[in-house]
């Protein structure tokens, strides 16, 4: 947690700094009211506040060991007290480590949105995405994945374009 807070603190300071610089580059005297109506006023104030809180997070992560120790003790105590049992065990469906599953999920979703949608007809792109996702995460073989993908894309198209009258990508 200390390490991630250090990284997050640095990211937050960087983002806030970038917003602050961009706010300062906006026109500050472009209206009859001057600075008080400037478009950069509120973003600058917020950027400064975000930088202060980001710096506090970073300094706490770097300097304060006691805070993280008590946080970990609290979490450990809650895990013991928690009446919820662990999830029921059933057959392990996916043996990849967690980070790989996260990347696969994000990667497949990004491929759908940035590569397929808008370039192929909606039913084709959605069918491919759903089939590919199910197959990659071992939800079924090729035939089952393609069938579910096809059913989903046709179903979504029918319901949303014809019933809800919603334009599809």
């Amino acid at each position: 947690m200390r390490r991630t807070d250090t990284i997050f603190g640095m990211i937050i300071i960087a983002v806030a700094g970038a917003f602050a610089v961009m706010s300062l580059m906006m026109p500050w005297d472009g209206s009859e009211w001057g600075v008080i109506a400037a478009p950069g006023l509120v973003p600058l104030i917020l950027s400064i506040l975000l930088m202060i809180t980001g710096l506090t997070l970073l300094l706490r992560a770097v300097l304060s060991k006691g805070f993280y120790k008590s946080l970990e003790e609290q979490k450990a105590a809650e895990a013991d007290d928690n009446g919820c049992e662990k999830q029921g065990q059933s057959e392990r469906l996916n043996k990849e480590p967690a980070w790989k599953r996260i990347l696969m999920t994000i990667g497949l979703s990004a491929a759908y949105i940035f590569v397929l949608l808008g370039r192929l007809p909606y039913m084709v792109s959605t069918g491919l995405f759903v089939a590919g996702f199910i197959f990659t995460f071992k939800g079924g073989g090729i035939v089952k994945s393609v069938l579910i993908g096809a059913f989903t894309s046709v179903g979504v198209w029918l319901v949303f374009e014809k019933v809800f009258l919603v334009a599809l990508p």
Binding site: V35, L41, L49, L93, A98, G139, I148
Partner: protein, 502 residues
């Protein structure tokens, strides 16, 4: 609001179209709430996009019905799977699942259904009574008060949604406020942070951000898990005995009050209401040792509290245009999209609207109770759909919902971006609620600060001298100081002094 106004509006709802919409939307909400990986916010956001072309009155019926159904629906998976369907039902796991393990899953669902109905009913009564009262106070709100209210909202939301580390809640809130500044601003029409892009000039749309943070991030979180879940499908008796409900009448009233109060606090939401209700029920119970082992009282407390919160969350939506919870934020966005302007002027511009919303709530409560008690066994089958198959289907619905409002692929890309940001934030204990609340309150804070300064020629004193502002600043400072090391230091000083005197 008079009883006759409520009855008039309720009778107006008795059309086949409205009844059909209320029932299917409540059923949809129950299914959304039941499925881990889907949240009430996502369900309401999805349908906001998909019902964009529907008539306004039907949209409000549908969205409120989904909201009520989803908050209740999560109790099913909490009881049968030991996984809360929505965060609002996390406390229900503690006593609901032990009851399912002992073969009383159906009874637990029946208790949850009746408690949720009572909680929603309590919330709607408070909505009907307190909204007009708060509406009168809200008429005194001017630019100064709205700005300070936005600050207070972020501070208290950050504090309550990240109790162990409010600094992260405040960072999330400030980030939301800052990101909401992207796009064309309202006073000089300057395109801020647009980088020459037409899409960025239009700003970041709320629905894709909400669907991303609450929907896509949940999908990533669910797909991260290595194993599927076991469903306890044995469901015998469902209808609870009245004595099991009325024995805990004090708990019900207390949880209802807590739910409404927590709901009225900006951005905090049903999960906090459920936990606080549960905690107070345990402290006040004659048998606290039974909590966590299948206590009826614990189950009743959490489900009454989270559903009462719905009514509480809508009070500030209607009177101040500030959401009391994330799903309420979507409801607010939907109202704006359909030309309804919640806020202090609502009782003047649309005097019957509060009565209409109360009547819709009542209809949704009836639908939820009927569906909740009658469709238990068939709906359990839905829980058995593997997540490997369900999640990509949900993702395509999220994409459609995000695209539907503005017809821009940019919004779908935004949804994915916020989904990834939301996932990494939440897995590092940065709460999502302040981010979303900041996103909603940002334009309000920006516009009102600059307008107030223009009105008084740059004088900032009214922000600190107007009575409502002083109260809000006082409450803000109280919240910040209570989480600082200062109270501990002062306590330490007082502890040392008696020892010195001795």
């Amino acid at each position: 609001m008079s009883i006759s106004a409520f009855v008039t509006e309720f009778i107006k709802l008795m059309t086949p179209q409205t009844l059909f919409n209320a029932f299917w939307a409540t059923g949809f909400g129950i299914i959304v709430g039941m499925l881990p990986g889907l949240t009430a916010t996502m369900g309401v956001a999805l349908l906001t996009g998909l019902t964009f072309r529907f008539a306004t009155d039907q949209v409000i019926v549908i969205l409120i019905s989904v909201y009520v159904g989803a908050i209740y629906g999560g109790s099913r998976s909490a009881i049968l799977l030991n996984i809360p369907g929505t965060p609002a039902n996390a406390a229900t796991c503690l006593d609901g699942h032990p009851l399912a393990r002992s073969g009383k899953g159906g009874y637990a669902i029946g208790l949850a259904t009746v408690s949720s109905a009572i909680g929603t009913f309590f919330g709607l009564i408070c909505l009907a009574v307190f909204s007009p009262m708060l509406g009168d106070i809200a008429l005194s709100f001017k630019s100064w008060e709205f700005f300070v209210l936005a600050i207070f909202g972020i501070v208290i939301c950050g504090n309550l949604t990240a109790p162990k580390d409010p600094l992260k809640g405040w960072i999330a809130g400030l980030l939301g406020l800052l990101l909401s500044q992207i796009g064309q601003e309202s006073i000089q029409a300057y395109a801020r942070f647009s980088f020459g892009s037409v899409d960025m000039t239009g700003g970041l749309s709320l629905i894709p951000v909400l669907v991303g943070v609450y929907g896509v991030s949940e999908i990533i979180g669910v797909m991260k898990l290595p194993v599927d879940y076991t469903v306890r499908t044995k469901v015998a008796r469902i209808l609870p005995e009245l004595k099991d409900i009325f024995r805990y009448w004090k708990t019900i009233i207390r949880s209802g009050v807590i739910g409404v109060i927590v709901g009225a606090i900006p951005g905090v939401g049903e999960d906090t209401a459920a936990w606080i209700s549960y905690d107070f029920a345990k402290r006040g119970s004659k048998n606290p040792e039974e909590f966590g082992k299948g206590s009826y009282e614990g189950l009743i407390a959490s489900e009454t509290g989270n559903n009462a919160c719905i009514g509480g969350a809508i009070i500030p939506v209607l009177t101040l245009a500030i959401p009391g919870s994330a799903p309420a934020a979507v409801l607010l966005a939907a109202m704006w999209l359909h030309g309804i302007r919640p806020g202090p002027l609502l009782p003047i511009e649309q005097p019957q609207f509060i009565a209409t919303v109360t009547a819709i709530f009542f209809l949704a409560t009836i639908s939820m109770t009927i569906l909740g008690l009658s469709f238990v066994r068939p709906l359990v089958k839905v829980l058995q759909v593997p997540r490997n198959i369900l999640m990509p289907i949900i993702f395509t619905l999220c994409a459609v919902g995000s695209y539907a409002i503005n017809g821009r692929l940019f919004d779908v890309k935004l949804m994915l971006l916020f989904g990834v940001i939301g996932y990494f934030m939440r897995s590092n204990d940065f709460p999502a609620a302040p981010l979303v609340l900041g996103f909603i309150l940002g334009p309000m804070a920006d516009e009102n600060l600059r307008r107030a300064l223009i009105l008084r020629g740059g004088n900032i004193m009214p922000f600190f001298t107007r009575p409502i502002c002083m109260v809000l600043w006082g409450m803000t400072l109280l919240v910040i100081i209570s989480r600082s090391p200062l109270p501990g230091l002062i306590k330490g000083l007082f502890k040392k002094n008696p020892a010195k005197a001795a």
